[in-house]
Subunit: 346 residues, 3 copies
Amino acid sequence: MSKTWTLAELAYATQTTVHGNADKTIQAVASIEQAQAHELSYIRDRKYFNLLNTSKAGALILTADLAVQYQGNALISNNPYLTYARIVTLFNPLYRPAAGIHPSAVIAEEVSLGADVHIGANVVLESGVTVGAGTVISAGCYLGRNVQVGAQSLLYPNVMLYSDTEIGERAIIHSGAIIGADGFGFVPEPTGWYKIPQIGKVILGNDVEIGANTCIDRAALGSTRLGDGVKLDNLIHIAHNVQIGDHTVIAACTGIAGSAKIGSHCQISGMCSIAGHLVIADRVTITGTSFVINSILEPGVYSSGVTVEEHGLWRKNAVRFRQLDQMARRLASLEKQLAELQNNKD
Amino acid sequence: MSKTWTLAELAYATQTTVHGNADKTIQAVASIEQAQAHELSYIRDRKYFNLLNTSKAGALILTADLAVQYQGNALISNNPYLTYARIVTLFNPLYRPAAGIHPSAVIAEEVSLGADVHIGANVVLESGVTVGAGTVISAGCYLGRNVQVGAQSLLYPNVMLYSDTEIGERAIIHSGAIIGADGFGFVPEPTGWYKIPQIGKVILGNDVEIGANTCIDRAALGSTRLGDGVKLDNLIHIAHNVQIGDHTVIAACTGIAGSAKIGSHCQISGMCSIAGHLVIADRVTITGTSFVINSILEPGVYSSGVTVEEHGLWRKNAVRFRQLDQMARRLASLEKQLAELQNNKD
Amino acid sequence: MSKTWTLAELAYATQTTVHGNADKTIQAVASIEQAQAHELSYIRDRKYFNLLNTSKAGALILTADLAVQYQGNALISNNPYLTYARIVTLFNPLYRPAAGIHPSAVIAEEVSLGADVHIGANVVLESGVTVGAGTVISAGCYLGRNVQVGAQSLLYPNVMLYSDTEIGERAIIHSGAIIGADGFGFVPEPTGWYKIPQIGKVILGNDVEIGANTCIDRAALGSTRLGDGVKLDNLIHIAHNVQIGDHTVIAACTGIAGSAKIGSHCQISGMCSIAGHLVIADRVTITGTSFVINSILEPGVYSSGVTVEEHGLWRKNAVRFRQLDQMARRLASLEKQLAELQNNKD
């Protein structure tokens, strides 16, 4: 059962101001269509303006200019969506199991555990592991030799950290994430492929979140490195020696090939494919399914991909794609011939 | 060792009729090319017709009209492929380990286990978990607080169910599936990204199958929901608040972004990318690698994607794609100029 | 701490020859830009030629013709990159934990373990499992009934092998890989989909490496089969009944649909999508994000995919893709009309 808050308490906690009844009690948050008399909601932008006076919410988070037009209780914020997210957190703090070490955990010698850690059932900590204070290592996680996890981090069940992986403070790592497995490196030899030992490691900054079943490979030599505040969604592949700048976010199913260097504050959408050994500047946005094979050196929005159409039409168009260069040449030839005809006429 | 069946017994079990020797014993099923004298096979459609009289199979499953042309033993079915699948099941019932709770399982208080459940080695069941009668929770699975799994379900090893996930009856969930991890939701703030607590959950209907390493995220608020009979292949990403209608099937590596609403009886092929906040009608088929960024409101078959060609040709054509709009404008200009020339001539 | 080697020892171990001081001691390998006086590096090709005389490396691996122009110590090799990889291995042999069986492992009856195996914490071995000599089964792995793993193999933590899977010698399988889960096979029935039992298995040859969270499904009937020396990267999907020839390598995030038959010595890049029931010849290279829906019967390099461009331009071009067939028809019509005009003039 969540705690009840007054608007005054919420305003104090979120550095916003109350408009209306500061003693009004709030029990939960909800969407503006569904919020009831003891619930709080928000309007993110003007397109939801018409909901302002029909909402049954007990209070709304609004910008100052919207609040002028509203008779009910409100919290006034420069950024209602961010204030909403902060208040959702107040009502629903991230669940952290109690500190303690489950008797089934298998803990090697020379492991250093900070104060108030939680080590769940069947966790395996190899020698040289360091876990910071207040960190939760949930059931079934495996931390290889010399892994370091910073304070106040939260590893959900079955996270696998290969040896030497370093993770900063306040990390959130979801189940099935594999960090530090070998990069994919082989040298052709007469009989097949010779494995290049992957002797580097993975280093993640502070405040990183890694999605479920995402894979981040260790470097061939040196480090694969994610900066502070990087957020990765599910089922992402980060190859060896990739570098990702601070506060870059990447959506699900994207793959980044070896040694790519991604800037900070980038936003990369889902199912993108980024080739190896290229550079992406800071503050680049890449839309879904994009295929990047050259460096992007200027901030901006970049896209590729061909969108869905009725199947029969697609078949006709897809075939023509193979004729595109030929079509372009025929077009140029027509232009030239037509110009000659026109010249002859003059 | 599988049990031996007579054709009469198989006909009774599958509601088909025998043509030929009803006492013929069948020991196994096999492909029509490989089936031997004590094996059963089937012909799915007329294009395999020429195999009818060369097959060494002890019996075939055929439609009535094909059976007229066949001298051997047969089971007559309106749907030979479905009958075949049913008979494969008779010979190879899904393996379910014996009921019982492995002593290494870690079971919290306030867990409710139905009759004849199997709880494998190293399973962790947190408080409030409910497991229905006859359900198998294989080794290494983790069921978070208040997870519900219906009767007769089968979780393969290392399935991770985050708190509050609800799964119906007769589910089959393959290893590495992660259900209920946080949706990918952040609000920009001056210094980076603020995590929006994902306080919803995941609800799966009855008769759902989830493939290996597939991820289904919990809702931000409310529920991510898959209807009855939904089948997901491996390595699929289902984002927060997605809704999938009954009996929709989705092939491997597809990703569906947040709050998309997929209809029932849809067939979505592999490696598709479906954007967030859109609607797909019932009975829509989407072919492989399609990229969907707008709603699809009519049943039908939809496609996108450009298929492989020789690399040198591809390079030329791919470059032209960037000139496509310009080419279209040049084409329109040519049409106009040519029309003028033709008019001048008249 | 790695052992120190003299150049003479390294030359002996790698069948190369020393140029310069054979007693020179080497402590580690490093990139040519970073290598210091007791480190060894290499030059892979002529484009790094300018680094030859500025490098501080204690020795370099060079081809004979490059060595002529170099004053320092060198190892002379026909293939410097392969020699480098072999020497990295000498300095960094793959870590293998000591032989032994962890007391928390759960081992059924009728399990056959070779000499010097390592069975880690919380491993589960079901009945009929065979593990070859010297093989490492790391913490949390699950080997289902009758699984066979050959000698000298290395399974990282949390590898899941479904029943009957057969793995050759010297395999390396990374965490989260799921081998032998059910193929995705259903028959439509009036009320939804009927599951076709997947009664085949997976067979991997010798010297196979499988990446993190990669899935290889068991065959519907018969075997899904990967040849000797096949290397799969992370997050790959291999569907039921796929056949992959010897020494083929596949990069991350690629998906291969059911019953596709891939040749030997192929190189398939990341995020490719290969349709079912097709054939790819030996020695085919497929570049990243390619979409293959027909067989490729000749060796060569094949590609598809449209690369990223500025978003506004992309929107214009992507719309035109839907008009491509119409554009081609208009182009042909223009050509015809222009030819008529030209004929009329003559």
